[in-house]
């Protein structure tokens, strides 16, 4: 067992756990968007940043991927952590203005409005990549990909055409934290090679 502290509270964790898993075990709340227990953590949304402190030294790490270590001191509610969270939420409010989930999360952290320009008022997808990861890691199909890079990054099927690789299992719909997948789903799903009804018979 590994012993360390979160917010000065002594905690123990199994080897190989992450800081986030330990915090959740102890009921300490850390916000996340791209985290899901069914898939490997990817550290994309950075909402789960926590501060590690050691005397005069400190740094921020992503708790969903940071492996626990003996004697570390983790703080989940520091000014630096709040600064990161608030900026990410404020930017997400402008990027996904149509998502009630994002609005609710932002509000819970005191972010009620955004100073940034809204480019697409109907947008709900924040490209966290959960849909892609569940399709690849759990379903084993990779019908959905996160394509392109930087500001041009988007979620879609290969060549942005409906694909018969998709079996319409709906896993991506289930894990999507903002409900964006319901709009994307029909652009991904082609005529399945094996319809689900046939599978059931």
């Amino acid at each position: 067992m590994i012993t360390f502290t979160i917010n000065d509270q002594k905690v123990t964790a199994k080897k190989g756990w992450t800081v986030l898993e330990t915090a959740r075990e102890y009921g300490i709340e850390i916000p996340t968007l791209c985290h899901h227990p069914a898939v490997k953590p990817s550290g994309a949304c950075r909402l789960c940043m926590v501060e590690l402190k050691e005397k005069n030294w400190s740094k921020l790490v992503a708790s969903c991927i940071y492996p626990v270590a003996e004697g570390i001191n983790v703080y989940t509610e520091t000014p630096r952590v709040h600064n990161v969270r608030r900026w990410i939420l404020e930017m997400l409010l402008a990027s996904c203005p149509a998502s009630p989930e994002i609005s609710a999360l932002a509000q819970a952290h005191g972010v009620v409005s955004t100073r940034f320009k809204i480019h697409d008022p109907s947008q709900t997808c924040m490209i966290c990549g959960l849909c892609q990861r569940i399709c690849e890691e759990v379903v084993g199909l990779s019908a959905i990909a996160v394509v392109d890079r930087g500001v041009h990054k988007k979620v879609g099927s290969p060549f942005m055409r409906p694909t018969d690789v998709c079996v319409a299992c709906g896993c991506c719909l289930t894990v999507c934290p903002t409900g964006a997948m319901k709009d994307i789903f029909d652009t991904v799903r082609g005529e399945p090679k094996m319809p689900l009804t046939q599978l059931a018979m």
Partner: protein
């Protein structure tokens, strides 16, 4: 030595010991006549772009038709980049060291007739010293070269990079032979530790310590272990690594083999960006020739040590210069970085212990092994030993590649070697370290250029790009440029980088239009801090640096944009107006002729005027006017 010839003689060429290598070296040197003139034409990318391939062809044909006597027939050699790129194509006549610049194909005949046959100098091709107007005859007397210390670049411009015999003649692979025959892997690691060499790719991590921690990881996890060359140099304005790969590919290769020997690796990778076709070509040739000579592949120099490497080309993503993104790219996946909470020396390529170093770092290794870590540690300053290669670009007279010992003042590089800003005004700032670095203002021109001093000034060494700016460069515009570059080049995986950089750029866009407030400047600082704290890799976490350093040193210029709606540098189009000074205007009409929208009116020999309503603020009139009559406010 050509490919087919190599294949035929491959067995005969194979070197089986240090003695073999020395015998071959002696053979090559004995065949050479030290008095035979040699015409060296720079075939670096810069000179090639200026037509140096035509120049060397013209020299060749001029030589064929000149009918000069057999005993003075000169050799012609094409080399990698000699560094003085703004004066290319360059031609050097050795052994006299006569330096011709800006040579055209039509000059070839005269060079042969005058310099080679008669021993005279073609004066008009010599470099003119801008300070006193004197023509300079010899390469080593030109101020640009005089103040440099060429250690890593010592071979470049002297050897033909496509011919291994040239490399061997100049002492190439001596370090490898020395290590394989007289040193244990442990001793190689110790030499690197003693040398104090720090990674040349940007962060300056001590190379010896990296190798040592890889050895510790290998003890725990066992082999295989991989060695990787990071040749994905992508900073705007940077071309140090390209020059080394093009001009002395065997140095990189020899360094890599030495690293592999020290760590017990049998497989290496050279990750080179696809935009560097000549570097890839020269490295490929170098590897084929090294294999044929038994210096790469199975049982190198019959030592029992086997190592081979392959080249992986990048696919145009800047982020693949980040080590973990580079690994995922080699593994065949999209180049997204992964968190470095477990270090690459423990879990790198294919999840195995991996040592990745930058091209210039690897090229330093043979020198250290050859001459000893103590020798190396004496160059430069404590904590930043050795030399560093910089590419000097922007508003500077001598654009090119320079190598200086660590710790020389910034002004030595920009003013003494670079010749300062065209026109003679002091420079405004120097951006070091590319888009991840920062701006150093003129007031700090005496800052020693070493890892720690640059970091203290808020910038960083980075890979070695130096972009010089003058009073007509606007810091808001510079910040927008780098942010726009990075928002396109971010992998887009983590949100602070993907969303944050474009939002920062939007704030700066507003500034450039005179919108915004002092509160926006505070927001910019706070958002920058959040991105630095939370981005997944160094691309994101260092991206706010150019904005932060310009805010630190040029806050007044930012304030001028947001409070007075003025761009003091005259760059931001929405905030400037062009006008013609009636006192200075001679009515020559040249500005009116050049104006693309026809908004300048005036009769010949009478004062002209700009219709500011129609003016698109392109600035062509200002560049055209010979009487400095066009102003920008």
């Amino acid at each position: 030595m050509h490919d087919h010839a190599l294949a035929e003689q491959s067995d005969a060429l194979r070197l089986r010991s240090l003695d073999d290598l020395n015998r071959l070296r002696k053979q090559i040197l004995d065949k050479r006549d030290p008095d035979q003139p040699e015409i060296v034409v720079c075939h670096g990318t810069g000179c090639l772009a200026n037509g140096s391939a035509d120049v060397s062809a013209a020299i060749r044909s001029a030589l064929d038709t000149s009918g000069i006597e057999a005993k003075v027939v000169p050799g012609i050699k094409t080399t990698g980049c000699q560094g003085f790129c703004s004066h290319g194509p360059l031609v050097v006549i050795r052994p006299r060291g006569i330096f011709y610049q800006k040579v055209k194909p039509k000059d070839a005949k005269e060079i042969i007739e005058k310099t080679i046959v008669q021993g005279d100098v073609v004066k008009r091709l010599l470099y003119k010293n801008p300070t006193d107007g004197e023509k300079i005859l010899h390469e080593q007397d030109i101020p640009f070269y005089k103040r440099q210390t060429r250690v890593v670049l010592h071979n470049i411009g002297k050897i033909d990079p496509t011919d291994i015999s040239d490399t061997i003649a100049s002492g190439g692979y001596q370090a490898l032979a020395k290590a394989l025959t007289t040193m244990t892997p442990e001793q190689v690691v110790q030499e690197i530790e003693t040398s104090g060499l720090r990674g040349r790719g940007g962060a300056g991590f001590p190379t010896g310590r990296k190798w040592r921690s890889a050895l510790t990881a290998i003890e725990k996890k066992g082999r295989p272990v991989y060695v990787v060359v990071n040749g994905d140099e992508g900073d705007p304005g940077a071309f140090m690594d390209r020059t080394i790969m093009e001009g002395d590919p065997h140095a990189v290769l020899e360094g890599l083999i030495l690293g592999a020997y020290a760590l017990g690796a049998n497989q290496g990778y050279l990750y080179v960006r696809a935009e560097y076709p000549l570097a890839i070509k020269h490295l490929t040739i170098a590897m084929e020739q090294a294999r044929a000579c038994g210096l790469l592949g199975d049982n190198i120099l019959n030592s029992g040590f086997s190592f081979d490497a392959r080249i992986n080309r990048g696919a145009g993503a800047f982020v693949c210069g980040e080590s973990t993104a580079l690994f995922t790219s080699i593994e065949g996946n999209p180049g997204n970085p992964r968190p470095k909470y477990v270090r690459s020396v423990e879990e790198g390529l294919w999840g195995r212990p991996t040592v990745l170093n930058n091209v210039e770092t690897w090229a330093n290794i043979p020198l250290i092994v050859n001459k000893g870590g103590d020798w190396y540690a004496k160059i430069g300053v404590p904590h930043s030993t050795g030399t560093k290669v910089f590419s000097l670009v922007g508003k500077v007279n001598n654009v090119g590649l320079v190598e200086v010992p660590m710790g020389v003042p910034l002004s030595t590089i920009v003013e003494d070697i670079g010749g300062g800003v065209p026109g003679g005004a002091p420079f405004k700032a120097v951006q070091t370290g590319g888009p991840s670095g920062g701006c150093i203002p003129y007031e700090l021109k005496d800052t020693p250029v070493d890892f720690d001093s640059l970091t203290k000034a808020g910038s960083m060494m980075g890979s070695g790009a130096m972009i010089v700016m003058d009073n007509r460069d606007c810091v808001v515009d510079v910040g927008r440029y780098f942010l726009r570059f990075l928002e396109e080049e971010s992998c887009g995986k983590c949100m602070p980088c993907r969303l944050g950089l474009s939002r920062m750029r939007e704030i700066l866009d507003n500034f450039s239009e005179g919108k915004g407030s002092e509160k926006d400047i505070e927001d910019l600082l706070s958002l920058s801090k959040a991105i630095q704290d939370s981005a997944l890799c160094a691309l994101g976490s260092s991206a706010p640096n150019p904005v932060l350093t310009t805010l630190k040193y040029f806050k007044d210029e930012y304030l001028a944009h947001v409070t007075r709606q003025k761009c003091p540098a005259g760059v931001c189009k929405n905030l400037i107006t062009y006008s013609i000074d009636p006192e200075l205007c001679t009515g020559c009409t040249s500005c009116a002729k050049q104006c693309p929208v026809g908004c300048i009116e005036g009769e010949k020999k009478k004062t002209h005027a700009i219709d500011t309503g129609l003016c698109i603020r392109c600035g062509i009139c200002m560049d055209t006017c010979k009487f400095n009559a066009v102003n920008v406010i």
